[in-house]
């Protein structure tokens, strides 16, 4: 400790009050949307607004209280942003329910309750994220088992062309959503141990540091796993997500652009091969490039969904039609993959930009937690989780807005889908745990009374 008593040091504040304030606003976003949907469709506020709002508020307050007691230094923005997105998603799903006479919103609320319950359990059980490092290989094995489960005959089922579901009695479930969290833990645990070998060895070719041949093993393995998912489960989105996630974490842990060059090369090679040999990939690319050629039934209507969503967003314009006043039910399955289309139609560009900004905030907070985290494992897990959210949002919204070919992934927190919602709530719990650890002031062990006790050191001769 230096003698100057006035050196200012940096300490993070707890900010739980700010979180509560933001949560109240987030509830206004969620419940307000619900009320606006009722006003738009029926001309009156939904009759169950009080019970609905009360249930939502109870969930949010429980989550807040648990964070307040178990992770007092955690980031104050993450939970409100997630609550707002989830509330908004529920309202849009409810709006589609009214148009199509389905009950997805009720099921989604049940899933959200389960998600919050798991969020609470995760925060209570996992008091220190570094414990997860012990389960590096266990979670890797579990992730691979989960990814293989849908391939088991009798257990896995094929829905809408992708074999990523398992059925257990009345429940259907997407194991890939849990696997992505486990894979983040595996990659982080592996890379934190092997980053030096991956970062330092290798040679320089044309200004790019290329890694050694023997270090290529894991990246090639990951590439093969992604290709396997693509070919055998015909799930473009997940394969892109897993490979991209691994590449991001590899790049962050080694700080070498060579891995990015290599990974992008492998990705482009794999994508070209998939385009050539996989008919469903070719359909996706064709409908992306020429959506209007495949719109009518005569041409197979493979781009019907995409084109309807584009019509909707075009009709929505800058301010949208207003909640409950558009026709988002024209988009098939608007409540899951194409919820951004429905949102763009009824809230317009203004609403869509707000939602994308909220996703940006989640990623930013995750990266910030990673920057200030004190241990390498925590840093990598936070980066990985940020990558999961960012890749998912980019792939889905990019697909719906026709920036990239459409791939099947759920929009985190917004779209209908139980496994995805639950997994994402656990993801947020992990992020809060890491940010709580990172923002907590460093322990003070030095005490003044024995700091200068022995100013002169005796040099021991020989």
């Amino acid at each position: 400790m230096s003698q100057a008593g006035m050196i200012m040091e940096f300490v993070h504040r707890r900010r739980r009050g700010a979180e509560l304030f933001l949560l109240v606003l987030a509830l206004a976003v969620g419940v307000g949307a619900y009320a606006a949907v009722g006003l738009g469709v029926d001309g009156e506020v939904p009759t169950d607004l009080i019970t609905y709002g009360g249930w939502l508020a109870a969930l949010v307050v429980i989550a807040h209280l648990v964070v307040r007691f178990v992770a007092p230094y955690a980031d104050p923005v993450l939970l409100p942003v997630v609550a707002a997105l989830n509330g908004l998603g529920l309202a849009v799903i409810y709006r589609l329910d009214l148009a199509e006479d389905t009950t997805f919103a009720r099921q989604q609320l049940t899933w959200m309750s389960l998600g919050v319950a798991l969020f609470v359990i995760a925060l209570l059980v996992l008091r220190d994220h570094r414990v997860l490092q012990r389960f590096t290989y266990t979670s890797g094995l579990l992730a691979i088992i989960l990814l293989l489960l849908p391939m088991v005959p009798g257990l896995g089922t094929e829905i809408n062309g992708a074999r990523i579901w398992i059925h257990l009695g009345p429940f259907s479930f997407q194991p890939g959503e849990i696997a992505k969290l486990l894979l983040v833990v595996t990659f982080a645990g592996y890379l934190v141990l092997h980053r030096d070998a991956l970062a330092l060895a290798g040679r320089r070719v044309l200004f790019v540091d290329l890694p050694r041949g023997r270090d290529l093993g894991p990246i090639l393995l990951m590439w093969l796993v992604s290709l396997g998912i693509l070919v055998f489960q015909t799930d473009l989105g997940s394969s892109l997500l897993f490979f991209g996630l691994f590449l991001i974490m590899l790049y962050v842990s080694t700080e070498r652009a060579g891995w990015l060059v290599l990974g992008t090369g492998l990705f482009i090679g794999g994508a070209l091969m998939a385009y050539r040999f996989e008919p469903h990939v070719r359909v996706r690319v064709d409908t992306w490039l020429h959506p209007f050629d495949y719109y009518s039934d005569a041409q197979g209507a493979t781009s019907f969904q995409l084109v309807e969503s584009m019509f909707g967003m075009g009709w929505g314009g800058l301010l949208g039609r207003g909640l409950g006043l558009g026709m988002p039910e024209r988009i098939p399955r608007a409540e899951s993959d194409f919820i951004m289309g429905a949102l763009g139609e009824e809230l317009g560009l203004t609403g869509v930009i707000a939602v994308i900004l909220l996703y940006g905030l989640i990623v930013e907070r995750a990266l910030r937690a990673s920057l200030i985290c004190r241990d390498g494992f925590g840093k990598l897990v936070a980066v990985g989780l940020a990558g999961v959210v960012a890749l998912q949002v980019f792939v889905v919204i990019g697909g719906v807005t026709r920036l990239i070919p459409l791939t099947g992934l759920t929009t985190p927190f917004l779209s209908y889908g139980g496994s995805s919602l639950v997994a994402n709530w656990v993801l947020i719990a992990l992020l809060l745990r890491i940010s709580d650890y990172a923002r907590r002031p460093a322990p003070t062990l030095s005490t003044e009374d024995d700091a200068d006790q022995e100013a002169t050191q005796v040099v021991k001769m020989a």
Binding site: V11, L25, A26, G43, R374, P443, E454, Q457, K460
Partner: protein, 157 residues
Amino acid sequence: MSELTLFLIRLAYLAILWIFVLSALSVIRSDMFGARMPEGARQAAAKREQRPPKPARARRGAPTHVLVVDGDNLGERAELSAAPILIGRGPDAAIRLDDDYVSTRHARIAASGDQWFVEDLGSTNGTYIGNARITQPTTLTIGTQVRVGKTVIELRK
């Protein structure tokens, strides 16, 4: 319901959405620099907090002693109940090492809450966990190997 009311509802909802986004941003902005407080004030506060020292309840699985696992003083140990434990070549060190690369007051192991930390005391050759030289108090778990000079010590149950 009239067109105008619906239009106003639409604008009001977009306004709520953006108010939420902007207030989240303002919380982030005010969080950017945290709370600044003079060095020492925090320690005073921490001291006050720690004033009634919790009786160290020996939990199952909690480390009980520090053991020298490699180096000239192999096997030397110190009980954690006497924390903070000073490691060095000096006569007042709880673990006294005859290692030429160890400073007189080299490092210290102390508890904060139910976690154990090792802190370098400005030694010449540094304190290492793995290959990394530590620059601030670093948490220790059972089996984490701490290297001071040519000596390796760790927490044991």
